[in-house]
Every structure is written in C-alpha cells, then in structure tokens.
C-alpha cells in the first residue's frame, strides 16, 4: 500500500466521501423507506389460473356442440369434468370416432381421448400454460389500471418470478384503507346481465325468489331446464339479518362488462348511491333488442356470480342505464364504477400474504429505530474515544465514513431501508469498530515490544489484515444467503449488513491507515502515539 502515494489515497477518500454524500443527501429524499417504515400495504396475490382454464373450456363448449351439430353428430351429454376437461357422452353408436376427427381438425387446442364410447377433451399442455400465462398478464394489467385510477403514488405491481408463475406482488405506499384496497384489486368485477327465467305458472311480477336452491329447482316441473342456472343474491331481512335468496336465470349472458364503454357513480331516484353505465354502440343495439323483446320480464344484474338486483324491464333501453338496489355506499359505488371502467379480472384472486403497516406505526418505528441506533453509536464512539484516545478519533472517523458509504451505496442501488435494515445498521456500527480494535490492539502490542511508532503502525495493519478479511468474509457469506433467500424485511436486513461489511473493509483497512500515514508524514519522528 506504500506504493500508492499518500496524496492519491487521500484523493480516493475525498472522492468516495463526495460521491456518497452527493448520493445520499438529503437522506429523507434519497433513501427509499420500506413499507414497514413508511406505512402501506404489501400483498402477495395468486391469480387462480384454474378459473381461466375453466372459462376457456366453457367457451369452447358451445362452439364444439354447434360444430358437431352441423354434421349431425351432436352428443346427448356435454359437461365439464373437474374444471379442466370437457366430457362428451352419448354419441350414436360408431359416431364417436367421426366426432373425434372433426374436433381434432377444428379445435386443435384440445387433446382428444376416447373414454367408454364418449370423448374426453383436455386443453393441450402448451395451450393450457399459454392460457394461464395470459390470465396472469391480463390480471397484472387490470390491477395496474385499477390502482392507477384509484390514485396511488409510486405503486409497485409486478409479477413474481418463481416456481409458480401465478403470483403478483402489490405494494402500495401510504395507503391506509386495506379493506377497500383488497376488494378493489382482488375482486374480479365480472358483470353480466341475465334474464330471470320465472317458473311456469308464475308471473314475473309475483315471483319471489326462494331462500334455497332446492326450492327453486322444485318450482320447475321435470327439473331445471338445461339452459337455466341458479344464482344467489344477498339480502337483509327486516330485522337486519343477512339471508341469501336464489334466482333462476339464463345460463347465457346477452351482455357482460366487456360491453361497457364507461361507468360512473350516480344516484338512484331515491338519492341512494348507485352506478350508471354506458354501453358501446354495438352492445347498445343488442340491449335495445333484448329489452324490446322481453318487456315486463325481470333482468338480473349479476356481479361475480351474485345477483345485485333484478329489475323489471319497463321500457326499451338503448345504451345507458343504472345499477341500483345493491345496498351501495358512496364508497362501494365509486369502487364498483372504477372496477367496471378498468375491466374485469380474467380469474379470481387470492391473497397469500399480507403485510400492512399503518403510517403511525411506521413513524413510531422510524423514531425508535433512529433513537436506538444513535444511542448505540454514541456509546460505542464514547468508549472508543476514552479507550484509544486520539486514535479513537481515527476510529470514529472511519465509523462515520462507514455509515456515509452505507447510505450512499443504498441510494445508488435504490435499495429499500426496512425496520430490520435499521437493526442491520446498528449492528454494523457495533461490528465496524472490530477491525479498528484488532488493528489498534496489534499496534499496542508492537509498541510494547519497543518498536517505533512507524513500524508499530505498519506491523499492526499488516498482521491484522488477514484476520479482518477472514472475519468479514464469513459474515458476508451468511449475509449473501440471507439476501438470496430472505423475503421482504429480512432482505432489508441483509442489504444493510452486507453493504456495511464491505464499507467496513474499506474504512478500516484503507481509510484508518491513510489517516495514520498522514499523521506520520506530518510528524515523521513521532515518538509517542496516542492509542
């Protein structure tokens, strides 16, 4: 190290100090605080891609049925099995093979197998994974749009890479209303309009939906027709108890949320919150047709497979209308219109992990963390000054520089300071002086052996070096694995610890030595060292 000129070394130190100070000043702007300090919502969500696969199969079901029907090959039974296979049963004898060939040519995305005289269709693996992948990408886009419209500053919304590719990480700083946000980004908001199929012998006006599915089915002599399904509606009784009632509605949905052009929060005629909607021109025509043909009937508005309301069609409606009677509050009406404007999620979402910190707790954590670190550092510094006197000043300088580099490096690589990260800094302070202690104790030993100040300093640094490198490297090994496999806050701990260790190597070995050498060059014949 002697070969490097003293001036050059001083220059390096000044440049490092300058760069780090520039990068980290002012810390309140340059250091990125984690959600556990700043407050906010951290969610790991899973896209239920099974839903998307099922939807894809459902969609093909009608098309396959009609393709086979054209050729006179229609099976008597078509059904979805365990959510991922389509079973076609009841072909006329010997026709199954013919049907198989047609499906293979017209619907190449399916693998077809003969099972007990029927056919079993499954999406081929490449197609299936493409469907899942596109569901996740679409969900990511939709969530981005929703969060954007909700108005959150600096959100993080990204796909998490890993063994399963269906995870989405959502981090929303400063958001204080987790319930609302979870609903806003997690509910599919798939809107459908379906005609209510009132049972024979009952008029639409008189129809009162029963409180169990079985009761609905019993109302139809000869069982529920194939094109009718039963969907629930949440209601409250007069004394405020929640109950569910069930509506028989058409399986097909003449209109869905995809047909919307716009949607806003509105008021119904009683002044209660509601949501209005505007349809696209093409859908408007269909809606007009639908309402003209079904005057006096009930039209159910279905959101995520639940009936919101089922108003009677009293007039021909063109391209706009209102969704009311859903027990909306101002907030939920606002949120629903926002979701409708942003589009539906392609599949259900599920929260796997949530870490929400209120801003007041975050502020408390910062305060406590800073107080603890400052107290710890002061005691350490005071101790070094008393124990090593003027050399303690050198160690303190190294320590201060260590912290400066730590902050500067964090600002440069845009890493996030978390609460455990603060603990990592406090720990760095404690461990950073270790290298100085090792060196100073060595120098003292050399001085006791009667060496001159200059020789003692050189020998002290030389002999302590390998130990310092060893010790820091082993801690670094643990730190790197912590970083690689740690999640969130723990990773923050690893970041400060690792950068602290690297900074420590630089300050203890390079900076402290340069300080001693500078002092020696000012007073080459020093006979005493304050250590």
């Amino acid at each position: 190290m002697d070969s490097l000129g003293l001036r050059l070394r001083l220059g390096v130190i000044i440049v490092v100090v300058g760069l780090c100070a520039f990068a980290a000043y002012p810390p309140s702007e340059k250091i990125n605080l984690g959600l556990d300090l700043k407050g906010g919502i951290h969610l790991v969500m899973r896209v239920k891609t099974d839903d998307a696969v099922k939807a894809e199969i459902d969609l093909s079901q009608t098309r396959i049925r009609s393709a086979l029907g054209e050729k006179g090959l229609a099976p008597s039974q078509v059904g979805v099995e365990d959510g991922k296979a389509l079973a076609l049963k009841g072909f006329e004898t010997g026709k199954a093979g013919e049907a198989r060939d047609i499906i293979r040519t017209q619907f190449p995305q399916f693998d077809v197998a003969m099972v007990d005289g029927g056919l079993r269709l499954t999406l081929d693996p490449a197609q299936e994974s493409a469907t899942r992948d596109s569901a996740v990408r679409q969900a990511l886009e939709t969530i981005r749009t929703r969060v954007d419209k909700f108005g959150v500053a600096e959100p993080t919304i990204q796909r998490q890479l890993g063994a399963s590719n269906d995870r989405i990480l959502v981090q929303l700083p400063g958001v204080e209303d987790p319930e609302r946000v979870k609903d806003l980004i997690g509910s599919p908001a798939f809107l459908e309009w379906k005609l209510v199929k009132v049972p024979p012998g009952v008029t639409a006006d008189r129809f009162d939906p029963p409180t169990s599915e079985e009761a609905v089915a019993r109302m139809f002599p000869g069982g529920l027709p194939e094109d009718v399904e039963i969907l629930p509606q949440d209601r409250t009784t007069r004394d405020g108890k929640p109950i569910a009632v069930y509506w028989p509605v058409t399986r097909s949905s003449p209109l869905t949320g995809n047909d919307l052009k716009n949607s806003r929060r509105d008021m119904d005629r009683f002044g209660s919150p509601a949501v209005n909607f505007l349809l696209t021109a093409e859908a408007g025509q269909r809606f007009q047709e639908l309402t003209r043909q079904n005057q006096g009937q009930l039209l159910a508005i279905v959101l995520d497979r639940k009936v919101i309301s089922a108003p009677r069609i009293n007039a021909v409606i063109a391209d706009q209308g209102i969704i009311e009677g859903g027990n909306f509050t101002m907030e939920s009406a606002e949120d629903l219109s926002l979701k409708l404007r942003s589009g539906a999620l392609p599949a259900g979402m599920e929260i796997l992990e949530e870490r929400t910190v209120g801003p007041s707790l975050g502020a408390d954590s910062v305060r406590q963390g800073v107080v603890a670190s400052v107290i710890g550092s002061l005691v350490v510094v005071l101790f070094m000054l008393i124990y090593y006197r003027l050399s303690g000043v050198n160690a303190t300088f190294a320590l201060a520089l260590n912290l400066l580099i730590l902050l500067g490096a964090m600002a440069y690589v845009h890493s996030t300071l978390t609460l455990p990260g603060i603990a990592g800094i406090a720990l760095t302070v404690g461990m950073a002086v270790d290298a100085n202690v090792l060196i100073f104790e060595r120098i003292r030993e050399e001085l006791r052996l009667g060496r001159t100040v200059k020789t003692a300093i050189h020998a002290g640094f030389e002999k302590a070096l390998s130990t310092i490198v060893d010790g820091n490297l082993t801690t670094l090994i643990a730190g790197i694995f912590l970083y690689a496999y740690g999640s969130g806050p723990v990773r923050g701990f690893a970041v400060t610890l690792n950068i602290g260790i690297l900074a420590n190597l630089f300050t203890a070995v390079f900076v402290s030595r340069t300080v001693f050498d500078t002092l020696l060059s000012l007073n080459p014949r020093a006979e005493r060292l304050s250590i």
Binding site: R46, A426, V433, N472, Y485, V490, A494
Partner: protein, 394 residues
Amino acid sequence: MIQVFHNANFRLMWRVKWGFMAFSALAMTVAFGAMTVKGFNYGIDFAGGTAVQIKFRERPRVEELRAALEAANLGDINIQRIGEPEDNEVLIRVEQTGAAPATAGEEGGEISTEILAALRSTEQKNTIGAGALDLNMASEGRLSEWLQSAPPGTTGAPAADMAALAHDLVEYRNEHGGLFHDMAAIAALPGVTPEIVRRLEEGAVLGDFTLRSVEFVGPTAGRELLHNTGLAILGSSLGILIYVWVRFHRIAWGIAALIALVHDVSIAAGAMALTGKEFSLPVVAALLTILGYSINDTIVVFDRIRENLRLYRDHDFEEVVNASINQTLSRSVLTSFTVFVAVTALFLYGGDKLNPLSFCLMVGVVFGSYSSIFVASALLVVTYKYLGARHVKA
C-alpha cells in the same frame, strides 16, 4: 493508557477448561430441552394466520372485544394487550387452523377485514356506512378530498389551503399514535377554523380505533417462507463450513469451529424458546448473523494460534493456545462489548418489533465470543491430547 487486560496470562486451557466445557454442555442441554419441551412461540411468519394490531381511543375492554369477535365466528382467537397500558393497544391473532367453516380450504386473507368489521360498534358502522368520514382511518387523500368538497366560502379559509390542512392533520395524527382523541384536539390545531370544526362534527366521526398493522400469512406463503428459510440456513452453514475447511486445511480445526457455531446458535435459539419471545423471520436473520459473528470471532483466535504455532515450535500445544487466547483476549472482550452495546440499545429503545431480534443477537454475541475460547480452542487442545500433534498442528 487504559487496557482491559495488562499482559493477560490466565491459565484458561488447563483444568479450568473442563469446568467451562461442562457449563457449555449444560447450556446446550437446557437450550435443546427448551426447544423440544417448551417449543418456540412462532410468529405469523411461521405459524400462519392473521395478526391485527389495533390502537383504541379509549381503554379497550378485552372481554367485550372477545365477545364481538367470537360472534363473528372466525376461529381460534387470541387477544393480547401490548405496549404500555396507556397505549390502549391490542394484538388480535387468529390461528390458521381455526378458519371459519365458510372459508375452509381458502387461504384466509379476508379474516383481517372481518376482524375490523366485527370490532366496530353498530352505531359507528351505520354512520360510516351512510357516508360519514372516519377521521381515525381516513387517508390524507380522502381527508383532503372531503375538506375540499365543502361549498366555497363555508370553511372560513381558502379552499387552496385544504390540501395542506389535510397534510398537517394526518401528520399530527401520525405523531400521536394514529388517533385523534377528541374534536377539541383537532379544533386546537392551527388552520382549523370554527366552520371546519362544525362541518367535521356534522359529517365526520372519530372512529373508536385505528389500524396499526395487519400481518397475514396463508398456508401457501407459509410453506414457501419455511422452505426459503431452510435454504438460507443450509446455504450459509455450508458456505461457512467450506470456508473454514479451505482456510484451515485441517479438518479438526474446521470441526472445532463448527461445534462452536452449533453451540452459539442453539443457545441463542434456546434462549428464544425459554423466554417465549416471538420467533419470526427477523429472528432467523439474527441467528444467521450470529453464525457469521461467531465464526468471525473464532477465526481471530485460530489465526493467532496458527501464527504462534509457527513462532514457538518448541512450546507445548496447550501453552501456545493459551498464550494466543490471552493475546486476543482484550480484543475479544472489546469487540463483543461494542457489538453488545449496539444491540442492547436496539433491545431497550428499538421498539416491540425489533425486540426479539435484538434479544437473540445479545445472547448470540456473548456466547459467540465465549465459545471461541472455551469451546473451539478448548476442543483443539482436547483433540491434540487424544489424536496427537499430527492431526491438529497447522
């Protein structure tokens, strides 16, 4: 000059080492006993489930909270007062296995929402449902929007000031634990005009509580956390083992260092089990840091032993080890002292969340320094006795 030990020359590697080694064996037995018999007090990270931390405006009555939550049928509920009594804070934990039948098979991410809904009084639920602003939950944006929505000229202040006022109000609230205790506190703030107070009294409520934090780890995420934690521990242990092996060539040195590591980490983990402090992800980070710290300390002593073995070839192995320990004793005590001071400050002033992590580090630091001498070095001396110089000398 102040020196911890002036020319330290303690005879540590002779008979007295057996006493210390027996102590170490005993401490490890107690640690393993505590871990197996008492077990860890696992946090949400490892146990899974939901933990909601709530701060109330008035002293919470735990029994009433429990009744309200049990009525919501969420499963096994544990309610605990935390912090100082005047903080009015509670931690509500719902175990994963006790998920309500309706949510069985699901991950359970909605439970925190249900907890909050269950805790609100019916009266407040109604007023807030009807559109009243909850001053203790509203975000700055919401508050600003609400203040700005006043008809012009009715607030006694320019509309442009409302955003700044919302910011000041939220800042005040954050500095006071996240809650306004009464309207008088708001009225006393600069910029709040009597008109604004009147408007707040009509259209806003002071919610009974504020949300401090929510932690939820579902079974899927829990499995992954556990898996990754295992990988981190395995990876760093292997990495350190390889490093020690390469560094010291002799397997005996590596094994001695490794036993010291196991000793330190298991005692620190045992202390966590014994005291019932929460065992969460940051504690695992602390244990891995102890791993690094302990090996660092052992290396300092081992380096000195190796250096001295070359210098004093004609001396007894025991003597050389003993001298090396004495030479590094000042440094060992100093360093563990400074690290101990730093983590003690965290333990005392760092707040609840850092408490388990800093406690674990405190124990680890003390034993990490102790074990370099009385486990790692002592084991070298013992191995030397039984296996002879050829296997031990570097």
